[in-house]
């Protein structure tokens, strides 16, 4: 390939209304702009059809490479086919696509594992089992994986835990708050909430605090957002299965330049996830993402 003066990258995430993705975007942007390259970032607002259209627009704009987090692993396939036809390499991050052949590399935090660490922590905290409620987001693939991982993490104690409620918190604090309140009313003896991300966990936490049950009910999230870490530090949230958008972004940029240079990259790069709780929250700081 001919050496270019500068590269134009495309970036698409599930939604730009989520700090997790805006952190990835700004980290990538910073890195590529430092090299004198540009980043085109579009917001499909969680709509897979919009995401496909926007990728078309990027192709027409002549981007050299696309950073892509599919809203749906399968539904994104037509866009991947078009990208392939146009000869544009794809760095797939966060949520893996169904057909790995269509992308150059897949860089994911292990969503399942993020749920798993929470499950483990819960099992440890409540060795006798208990009543739990789950706030999920069934339309989002990554979130479904987190729930699966969560059950895996409960391990042998799985049968001792009773899921008394499972509702769609839409990964949103405002949606989750009233739902969590109702769940607490229906189950005053609840032991814990598992929420598929931090915003919904913070919503559940507000509900728990509003009901004066903070001593009794543990609230777990997934993400490791600065807000969540602050809350952990203040004794609010119990823990969060942390991902590292900063690491994901850095790995993605690294891989991108390697691909454009014609170097080999690994097909699957897993960015570790881990539990942050009151014990280790200070290691990661509360001002930004890890």
């Amino acid at each position: 390939a001919a050496e270019k003066e500068s590269y134009k990258f495309g970036f698409t995430s599930a939604t730009m209304n989520n700090p997790f993705f805006t952190t990835i975007e700004s980290t990538i942007r910073e890195a590529v702009e430092k090299n004198g390259d540009t980043l085109v970032a579009l917001d499909p607002k969680s709509d897979i059809a919009t995401q496909i259209s926007q990728l078309e627009d990027m192709i027409n704009q002549g981007v050299d490479l696309v950073f892509l987090c599919p809203i749906d692993s399968e539904g994104i396939q037509p866009a991947l086919d078009m990208l392939k036809e146009a000869g544009i390499p794809v760095v797939n991050y966060d949520t893996d696509v169904t057909d790995p052949e269509s992308v150059e590399t897949i860089i994911v935090s292990n969503n399942e594992y993020a749920g798993e660490v929470v499950g483990q922590a819960l099992a440890e905290k409540f060795p006798e089992g208990g009543k739990i409620a789950i706030l999920d987001a069934p339309y989002a693939e990554a979130c479904v994986q987190r729930v699966n991982g969560f059950f895996k993490g409960l391990g042998d104690l799985k049968d001792k835990f009773e899921v008394v409620a499972q509702q769609n918190g839409k990964g949103d604090i405002g949606e989750s708050l009233p739902i969590a309140e109702s769940i607490l009313q229906a189950n005053p003896d609840l032991d814990a909430f598992f929420c598929i991300n931090d915003p919904s966990a913070l919503g559940a936490l507000s509900a728990v605090q509003g009901s004066g049950l903070e001593a009794q009910v543990a609230v777990y999230g997934v993400d490791g957002s600065p807000d969540a870490k602050k809350s952990i530090k203040e004794g609010g949230l119990t823990g969060t299965g942390a991902q590292s958008p900063v690491n994901i972004a850095q790995k993605a940029v690294e891989a991108a330049y390697q691909i454009l240079n014609g170097d080999q990259v690994e097909k699957l790069i897993k960015v570790p996830t881990f539990l942050i709780d009151s014990e280790n929250v200070d290691e990661y700081g509360v001002d930004g993402w890890q």
């Binding site: 405002g174 009233p178 309140e181 507000s206 509003g210």
Partner: protein, 320 residues
């Protein structure tokens, strides 16, 4: 038989008669829930139910005015997000003191209302479009102001506005009661209130009667934007944070509540207390479905079906 009067002698009786269908529906729903769940009728649940509906109640107060003048305000959900983030940004990022921050938050909503009002009144842009456009603008502004990140506020003096209680009653319940009273007085006892009904009933006739349509439209939209902003600040206090992505689609719940409360979408009629029954129905429905732990997708269907049938019965009764 339809008895439609603005002021009645036996106010309470008239109210019950007028809203008999929807009141019956509400009572049935409550009765059903108190039988099949242990928790519905507990003090705790009732209090949290009341707190949950406070947002929709405030939005509905604003929305019903917009509907009465024959319009709508699709931006109300976005103004919630905007005012919450504006207030939070002021407090947290700029260290502005709390009263001033809240004032700025309230102003942001009123300003959005003013802008849509001006386009509706002076340029005759349909309210549906003007407020839909303002919805985009307000949502965009809220996201820009915070770079789409939530802005955390943990100062108790602020958060207490949302989570505080007097006795066992959450503060937001008092706010709602206050605004219900204000709105009822406004619509029934002031000139502007009657002008609002006149403009919605027949804009041309209102104009010939010497009413300034523009003033009425702008006033209504400022007021409803203000109420949404107020709701946004209470919500931000409850969530310890200004959330730019919060409250999407809340305006639709406010429209549904208004219509359940018998407010005609063609404008010209409707009263505060009936609208509040609509708010209660939607609130109890959401609360009940969650208490019953109904599957999310069935919840959607159930909500659709209940709204459809509740409005249907009301329509059928009104025709007879």
């Amino acid at each position: 038989m339809k008895e439609k009067t603005i002021y009645q002698n036996h106010a309470l009786l008239g109210f019950i008669r007028k809203n008999s269908v929807i009141l019956t529906g509400l009572l049935l729903l409550c009765g059903f829930l108190s039988i099949v769940t242990d928790s519905f009728l507990t003090n705790g649940n009732i209090m949290s139910l009341l707190r949950q509906i406070s947002t929709n109640a405030l939005l509905t107060l604003g929305m019903m005015m917009c509907i009465i003048i024959g319009g709508i305000d699709l931006g109300l959900g976005a103004y919630i997000a905007l005012s919450g983030t504006v207030t939070a940004v002021m407090i947290t990022n700029y260290g502005v003191n709390i009263p001033v921050s809240i004032l700025l938050g309230l102003l942001s909503g009123a300003l959005c209302g003013l802008i849509s009002g001006v386009f509706i009144a002076y340029v005759k842009v349909p309210a549906f479009i003007a407020t839909m456009a303002m919805m985009n603008v307000a949502r965009g502004a809220a996201s820009l102001a915070t770079n789409a990140n939530p802005v955390r506020v943990t100062i108790p003096a602020f958060t207490n506005l949302g989570i505080g209680r007097i006795g066992s009653i959450p503060l937001p319940v008092f706010y709602v009661v206050f605004w219900i009273i204000v709105m009822a007085l406004f619509l029934n006892k002031t000139r502007m209130g009657r002008y609002i009904y006149a403009v919605g009933g027949n804009q041309n006739a209102a104009r010939y009667s010497g009413i300034s349509i523009k003033t009425v439209q702008i006033t209504v939209h400022i007021f409803s934007g203000f109420l949404a902003a107020f709701a946004g600040i209470v919500l931000a206090a409850r969530m310890y944070s200004g959330q730019p992505a919060v409250a999407q689609g809340y305006e639709m719940d406010a429209v549904a509540a208004s219509v359940l409360g018998g407010i005609s979408l063609t404008g010209g009629s409707g009263d505060v207390f009936s609208a509040m029954i609509g708010v209660l129905i939607i609130g109890v429905l959401n609360n009940g479905l969650n208490l019953l732990n109904v599957n999310t997708f069935w919840q959607l269907i159930a909500k659709g079906v209940v709204i459809l049938f509740a409005v249907s019965f009301d329509m059928i009764r009104n025709r007879n």
